[in-house]
């Protein structure tokens, strides 16, 4: 994880709308949610949502899978963990809330 990639992902999450999208997907878990479901749930224009999803997907935070005419979106937990790890690695070593890694590099 280089600093550019981390910044890109942080920026992707650093927008209220996208963060709401992301959290909805996290809550949806493995089943994910179709784009239309997100759209109704969050009450934003379809085209706006599509742009935001594109951004989340291109940074690797979200994945999509086609099921017939609907596109199912899922949060990519691995990416999120990488990002949290990146922040925690250098940023939280001393802090009370401390984060423990187990194996990883």
């Amino acid at each position: 994880m280089d600093i550019e990639e981390a910044a890109t992902q942080l920026e992707a999450l650093g927008n209220t709308t996208r963060l709401r999208v992301y959290r909805a997907l996290v809550r949806a878990g493995e089943d994910g949610l179709p784009v239309g479901g997100l759209q109704m749930k969050l009450g934003i224009a379809a085209s706006t949502l599509s742009h935001h999803l594109h951004r989340l997907i291109s940074t690797g935070l979200v994945t999509q899978e086609r099921q017939a005419t609907t596109l199912i979106c899922r949060a990519n937990y691995t990416a999120m963990n990488g990002l949290v790890g990146f922040l925690a690695d250098e940023c939280c070593a001393d802090a009370p809330y401390a984060v423990k890694k187990e194996g990883a590099a």
Copy 2:
């Protein structure tokens, strides 16, 4: 930590320059770094740096303390931990890299 605040902080970190600033401060630890020190270290214009610092400070990620004519900047670990906690709470519960909280709210 509400979603607006989280998004604001994520956005503040979601810029390569500001992330570099922040990481430099994290590495500097308790002693912090003066604005001028950061400026030389990162090689960016003083006014640009000042803008970015302002942003980091207004989101609570960085603090400043005056020592005569120099301003010492420090990373605010508590804020960082709050943010990581916010992400981890909902986002990483199942993941391999899992994050453990101890006491805090």
